[in-house]
């Protein structure tokens, strides 16, 4: 009951789920760079560091399709769940995944 819970993450409310357009993304600037929050057609949300593993393109500006985003600079497809490039570019780095939780329709971003 009074067990010590060690949660090293700081959860910050950054807005409502509906603030992110369906099949779209929003950007959250942080002191360690921008984070991109995506919402897919089926209503799931994901967060990645807003930098493409290719040349740092802002993924938040890409087209969201299925559970992937097409980078706006050179059209790599990045899997939202893992931040990894898909298809021909698989295996070439990844955009770090940022912990994200939804509670009562609010988006909580977890940063250490």
């Amino acid at each position: 009951m009074n067990a010590l819970v060690l949660d090293p993450l700081q959860w910050t409310d950054v807005g409502a789920v509906t603030d992110v357009p369906l099949r779209g993304a929003r950007r959250v600037p942080t002191r360690s760079g921008d984070v991109a929050i995506f919402r897919t057609g089926d209503g799931r949300v994901f967060a990645l560091k807003d930098a493409c593993p290719h040349k740092g393109g802002p993924l938040s500006q890409g087209i969201v399709h299925g559970h992937a985003v097409a980078c706006p600079l050179h059209n790599w497809s990045i899997a939202l769940a893992t931040g990894e490039p898909m298809g021909a570019d698989a295996g070439k780095g990844c955009a770090p995944v940022i912990p994200l939780r939804v509670e009562d329709g609010r988006l909580l971003l977890g940063l250490a």
């Binding site: 992110v20 357009p21 950007r27 500006q61 087209i63 299925g66 893992t82």
Partner: protein, 820 residues
Amino acid sequence: MSARGRERLVVVGNGMAGCRAVQEVLKRDPHRYQITIFGAEPRVNYDRIMLSPVLAGEKAFADIVINDEAWYADNGITLHAGVAVETIDRAAKVVRGAGGIEAAYDRLILAVGSDPIRLPLPGADLKGVVTFRDLDDVEAMVAAATPGAKAVVIGGGLLGIEAAYGLSKRGMGATVVHLMDVLMERQLDASAGFLLTEALAAKGVETVLEAQSEEILGADGRVAGLRLQDGRVLACDLLVMAVGIRPSTGLAKAAGLKVGRGVMVDDVLRTSDPAIFAIGECVEHRGQCYGLVAPIWEMCRTLGEALTDGDAAYEGSALSTRLKVSGVDVFSAGKHQGGEGCEDIVFRDAGRGVYKRIVLEAGRVAGAVLFGDAADGAWYFDLMRSGAPVGDFRETLVFGQAATEGLRGLDPSAAVAAMADTAEVCGCNGVCKGEIDRAIADQTLTTLEGLRAVTKASASCGACTPLVEKILKLSLGDGYQAQTGPKPVCGCTHRGHDEVRRRIVDEALKSMPAVMQALEWTTPDGCASCRPALNYYLLCAWPGDYRDDRQSRFINERVHANIQKDGTYSVVPRMWGGVTSAAELRAIADVVEKFEIPTVKVTGGQRIDLLGVKKDDLPAVWADLNAAGMVSGHAYGKALRTVKTCVGSDWCRFGTQDSTGLGVRLEKFMWGSWTPAKVKLGVSGCPRNCAEATCKDIGVICVDSGYEIHVGGAAGLHIKGTEVLTKVASEDEAVWAICATAQLYRENAWYLERIYKWMDRVGLAWIKAQVEDPDQRRALYDRFAYSQRFFRIDPWAERVAGRDAHEFNPLSRRLELASA
């Protein structure tokens, strides 16, 4: 223990869970307990989920009673109907109800369900504002349901939709108001949600999505309407709140039991007091609360064991949902929305209005959404719960159990050979294997196209194409010729651009989900290739009706500026025909200094590019440019880009016509139009061609006797000189011919196909024939002009005025400002 030696079991709650638990106990040991049930509702145990058909008038209360009075009597159960328990005295092991009725217990079961959430809106206590939970609510609604009256239901989940449908069946005009952009978004994806919206509309239920309720309006103490945050008012005589439920925990909390979101229970449904158990919607088990009956049945089975010294543990439940609206089949289970490491199999049959999405994870079914044909819901749910690998029958999985079990376990070609002549191959067109074999033999068919033309097998959704091809291969061996049809739009469909464009117009398809369903897209919501194409095709076909889908536009077109390699943007204002003024140049200079824009460059398109603008500054930069009369140059769009001109007869000693004036006129009329690929124009005042008109998409060379119109040039990846399309005598005719050509291209080309490539495909002669025919030319011109009524609008000014503001603001700045 009671005097007669039997243990006393008291149940609080005469609902679904309470009575089922009693049944489970009786089934195992009919004589062990002396049972007392308290029920706040003044009636026997009935099937709550069937309240929806009762509301719709499809069933009567008598039809939905589960346990009638005889059942209580036969089992020696004391029922206190209409008596709510008010306290639990745990020390004395006694519950006390309204009117002083008491019962002592050895074991107590809490099965008090949940309470509907009432939004704390102003006006929520007006008469005519109801929730949807029990028979009293249904009776209140039926009483208010005078035909012709209007009902508004807040909440587009299962309950809200069933309420709206029921009220509409009773003759009311019903509208569902939903906060989210998809109905039943917790169970459905956007495709199925769209189909549901359409199906409900066909049944007279309107849907208002993305609507935040603000205030309930009243007149004489009765509800009169609902005001939304955007100012809209929906008039109504009845307002149903179906926005969710909250586990009923008040009684347990007052008794000092451990309560979280629900009454906390362990794996045998025991609360923090070992003599008290809890089941149903009021509990929280392993962090989970449930709002459906299937998990409740499982809980009751476990509790039945526990109360009869059996050994069982409840470990949580997988969930599936089925909507109960007659004629609208909807099923959803598991990870219907996919997720990490998941794959989708999508099947659409436009003819039957069917959409199925099966989600696979590690070769197993992880979820399913079925719309229009949910007959296999239980089968997918079983596959999901059993976790059986489905790799062996993946190909037929989406066709359901019958199709799959017909073929299971056989190697593919043997399976095809073994198929009976009567086995259905193409579900859309009802074609059996025998018919295909006969067609191949009788008509000496060798291609898939040929077979499709004759039998229609695989001609609709195409999902059975692999199977049909196998049958062809099997019959023909090496004689089989693989398909060489039109190139598909993308991997989401086997259909080509022409067919898609034609059907959007012929079938009046006016939204992206409508196209994907009618044309049987094989993905839930398309991809980054087809979505921009469809968005363009739709806005070209329905300029006045279609609502642009921003999320299907490439970033440049979404924010009306060009993204640069460092994530900043460039801004290119229009400079009509390449002509500018001191005032415009001064405004540009001021903007550059004010926003510290690092680079100013003259482009190859006769205008000025401001490079390196920060995204958040874009609206402010545009506001200043707008103030000086400048508008977007669409340097970012599949749209009209530039109209280059030379100085022409105004100044040049060789100029034959006012090339500058014509260029400015063309640009002022044509700007803002969206096109399959970018369109650049050039107007030169004489054949010396200083405006390079003969390497533009459409060019004009002015000559003494009039205007030569050229088409199909390019000087980018490929260098192509133009061809002469036609020659006209007056400037007006030149404008008509050019706009007609542009419209012909807009209506016929494939997305991303520039004019010269389109011309290669359809031929100059065909283009010429259309544009030179006076009636055709007029009609094309008129359609272009009509479309321009909607698109000749400065997108910058719209955004300066606040449109899409979220695009230019971060979601939150809290983390940027937060201290470390």
